[in-house]
């Protein structure tokens, strides 16, 4: 029966009124940010330094990202996925590419000052990136992002507010690299030692203090170039080494926010049980557990044994046992929908080692090993090396159990943190279980950092010139769909080649109390959203 027209209109009008009221309410809330207060954040360990360019850990990025600014950043207000389309201005107000895609010119914001009062100019930008590509030494001890800038030839400062990045080849993702949380601009007049201990930036907060193993504090920058921001007076990070204490203290209201991506799914459940009103988000952290296989030494110089090892890993078991069902199966690139570049599930299932039929895969692995003369009575003995910390050790133990099905009898070799990378560098291992964070969900970062010949983070020293040519090819492609297709092909080849078999992509939690407003997390990174300039406390 047709509804009388007169009855519909009032309902529509009412609905419109409700929507309008909600919009007004929302905008009213947006306008009512309260200034002041100290945000109290839990932290897990002592940051190695405050110099973001020298570290690759969230322990440094989260407490100190608010001291700095980038040239550009990811805008999370409209889209939570970090990608090229969400890149927005920060210290650069506008940018343009040359026709050949090899020159990126940027107009810099005028009137910005460093926390010590010196003016920010293009010289600082030039200085920062020249350090990163090894053309200048401003006293940084380490440079973990060198591989990101494989394509950057030089930086030109044509005027105080004009800077141009000159690339060897076109690289659309170059802007994405500049937008990451690990790409702040450093002041040219401050040396590396000071940047490690008392950093100077242009950001919304100034460095307050860093008490080793105790706390870090940043305080409001009253001269911040964004008028009215930040809202907080200070942010205090308290180091609580014991995770149980940290969770209890957060639940008891001693802290407002937890260190991002630090809570495993099981602990998120604990927080929710202890303090049901808290907001907890479990996000894909862009951290993956993967296998380092030493293909230069027997027995893994034999491609068939590498294949058997890859076949016998039950990735679902890792996801259920270690990740409580929250982790994700993926290849080198983060899987969708969080990740932008990962293979779709149906494609991934067709990659060797990823099919769901575990019994068939085990039988295949056993067949390979039998052909090579191994069996239940004559297993291949080996060592699985890993860092001696639970995040590494737990999956390693599970791995040892899995590979037994392919007649691989392994002993666990826990390696002290101080010796881990030394052993990797010397290639003094057979199979290593590695857990690795990746700064930006972009193929230029993942491929060049982990699989390019000569990269310092290419722990297995995998070097395949044909693959490297493909890395460069995808890097230069403008068309997103075509580039993604090629990225999937590359990723498939890397997995089938056993370059660094990926076991799982981690998802971890961040929790905060409802009175902490404007916390926005990316869907595909934990590193790129900690400027804290919009965060305020409603209490």
């Amino acid at each position: 029966m047709r509804r009388p027209l007169g009855a519909v209109v009032p309902i529509r009008r009412f609905a419109r009124c409700v929507v309008l009221a909600l919009v007004l309410l929302a905008s009213g809330t947006a306008l009512a940010q309260k200034s002041g207060g100290t945000l109290r954040v839990t932290h897990r360990d002592n940051p190695p330094s405050a110099s973001i360019h020298e570290e690759a850990t969230i322990s440094t990025v989260m407490p100190f990202a608010s001291v700095y600014n980038n040239l550009v950043q990811f805008d999370l207000s409209t889209d939570r996925q970090n990608r090229l389309e969400t890149v927005s201005p920060e210290l650069a107000t506008a940018w343009s590419w040359s026709e050949d895609g090899r020159r990126l010119s940027m107009k810099l914001r005028a009137g910005v000052r460093w926390h010590d009062g010196m003016p920010f100019t293009s010289a600082d930008v030039k200085c920062t990136w020249e350090q990163l590509i090894g053309q200048r030494d401003i006293g940084l001890r380490k440079n973990p992002r060198r591989s990101w800038y494989f394509n950057l030839k030089s930086v030109e400062a044509s005027g105080p507010q004009d800077v141009t990045f000159i690339l060897a080849e076109p690289q659309p993702s170059f802007l994405v690299l500049l937008a990451g949380g690990m790409s702040p601009v450093y002041p040219c007049h401050v040396n590396g030692a000071q940047m490690r201990t008392h950093p100077i930036g242009t950001g919304p907060f100034r460095f307050g203090e860093l008490k080793q193993n105790e706390s870090m504090r940043v305080v409001r920058n009253p001269d911040y170039w964004k008028p009215g921001k930040p809202f907080l007076d200070a942010i205090e990070f308290t180091i609580i080494a014991n995770r149980s204490t940290s969770v209890l203290a957060f639940g008891a209201g001693k802290f407002d926010l937890t260190l991002t991506g630090d809570l495993p799914p099981s602990m998120v459940d604990e927080v929710r049980a202890q303090a049901p009103s808290t907001i907890c988000e479990v996000q894909t952290t862009n951290t993956q557990a993967n296998l380092l296989i030493n293909r230069d030494r027997p027995p893994f110089d034999n491609a068939e044994i590498r294949r058997a090892l890859n076949l016998v890993i039950d990735r679902n078991a890792f996801i259920e046992i270690i990740g409580r069902g929250q982790f994700l199966i993926g290849a080198a690139m983060m899987p969708p929908p969080s990740g932008l570049w990962g293979m779709p599930a149906e494609d991934l299932a067709s990659v060797e080692g990823y099919g769901t039929d575990m019994a068939t895969r085990r039988a295949q692995a056993q067949g390979i090993m039998r052909k090579l003369g191994y069996g239940p009575d004559k297993p291949l003995r080996l060592k699985v090396s890993t860092r001696n910390i639970p995040a590494y050790r737990d999956p390693a133990v599970l791995l040892i159990d899995h590979i037994k099905h392919a007649y691989l009898e392994a002993d666990l070799e826990p390696i002290d943190t101080g010796a881990w990378y030394v052993r990797m560098l010397k290639k003094d291992y057979q199979v290593g279980l590695n857990v690795q964070g990746i700064g930006i969900d972009d193929p230029d970062v993942v491929f060049f950092e982990n699989f390019a010949c000569g990269s310092e983070r290419n722990y297995t020293a995998y070097c395949n010139k044909d693959m490297e040519a493909l890395f460069h090819r995808q890097s230069q492609m403008i068309d997103f769909a075509a580039r993604r297709k090629l990225v999937w092909e590359i990723d498939r080849k890397l997995q089938e080649d056993g370059a660094r078999p990926v076991i799982s992509h981690q998802r971890q939690g961040t929790c905060w109390w409802p009175y902490v407003k404007s916390i926005r997390l990316s869907s595909n990174s934990i590193y790129n959203h900690w400027r804290f300039e919009d965060v305020w406390l409603d209490r």
């Binding site: 690759a56 973990p144 860093l210 080793q212 105790e214 008891a252 202890q274 310092e456 983070r457």
Partner: protein, 314 residues
């Protein structure tokens, strides 16, 4: 007495020299150095940059030179710089010492003021229900790991009081004192249990002596017998164990400081070892060694004050 003291002080110096050589050598025997640790946070190692750091920190010098530089600096009062914070070592260590010292002192005091009287009561009321209860109490203290006990205490506070007693530097001194009592009880429980058991067994032995029977036959009150006659003689081995416990307390404090998030030297030392921050570890170990040998000397001197039969002679 004078020459005894001189002999003891010389022995102390010899011990400290031995400790200095031992800690210096052991630290360098552990795999990995500060450069490896610094690169760990960067997730990579660049051999050229690593060499630069090693050179910058003087770790490329021969070990003997490094040792002499450290010792001569120590004697001059120059403790060097922390490799991690790049601040003077003394500035890193000094603010943490009073925190740990006060926690240790509170824990030790609590353990003595509970352990000794309870031990006496347990001995005097041997094989009664009270004795059994006190023995269970002491056995629990010796059996429960302090990290577990600490976590239980924290969970209990959250459950019943809705708050958590962890260190907060914004607390007033009075609040800080009240807070410190909780971890001090957690760490002092074990020492208290040990002191109680030792006091009990020592008391039981003394209570069977003839002079105790004589005292009772003279009509001395129970309190007088137990505390003036028996305890005074039974307490000598207890003092020894208190001295030893004071040294061992540092081990318990590492865990307690971690669980209650107290920024003291014990947790700091462990972290410094993990980070291979040699200047912090070496100087802190020397400080702890100095404290331990001094406590030992004081305990030895205390014997003669407690028991007139013990005389320190030259």
């Amino acid at each position: 007495m004078g020459s005894y003291l001189i002999r003891r002080i010389l022995l102390m110096l010899l011990t400290l020299f031995g400790v200095s050589v031992l800690i210096f050598t052991l630290l360098r025997l552990v795999p990995g150095n500060i450069a490896d640790i610094l690169f760990d946070a960067a997730g990579m190692i660049d051999p050229v940059e690593k060499q630069k750091i090693i050179r910058e920190l003087g770790l490329d010098q021969p070990l003997v030179v490094q040792y002499m530089q450290w010792i001569s600096g120590l004697l001059r009062g120059d403790l060097g710089f922390s490799y991690i914070s790049e601040k003077p070592t003394i500035d890193e260590i000094a603010p943490r010492i009073p925190i740990t010292a006060s926690l240790a002192a509170m824990a030790l005091t609590l353990s003595v003021i509970t352990g000794v009287p309870l031990g006496v009561i347990s001995a005097v009321r041997q094989n009664t229900k009270l004795d059994y209860a006190l023995r269970v109490f002491s056995l629990s203290g010796l059996s429960l790991p302090s990290f577990w006990l600490g976590l239980l205490i924290l969970m209990g506070f959250v459950h019943w009081f809705g708050t958590i007693p962890i260190y907060d530097r914004n607390n007033t001194p009075l609040e800080q004192l009240a807070f410190m009592l909780v971890p001090a009880m957690a760490v002092g429980y074990r020492a208290s249990a040990l002191i109680m058991r030792l006091t009990r067994s020592s008391m039981l032995e003394v209570l069977r002596q003839d002079y105790i029977r004589t005292a009772r036959s003279k009509g001395v009150s129970d309190t007088g017998v137990n505390y003036d006659h028996a305890l005074r003689n039974a307490v000598v081995p207890v003092i020894t164990i208190i001295g030893i416990e004071a040294a061992f307390l540092i081990g318990g404090l590492i865990v307690t400081e971690t669980v209650f998030n107290i920024p003291g030297v014990a947790r700091f030392l462990v972290e410094a070892i993990r980070m291979r921050d040699y200047p912090i570890v070496q100087n802190l170990v020397m400080f702890i060694a100095f404290s331990v040998v001094t406590i030992n000397l004081l305990v030895d001197l205390a014997y003669s004050l407690i028991d007139p039969r013990i005389r320190i002679t030259d």
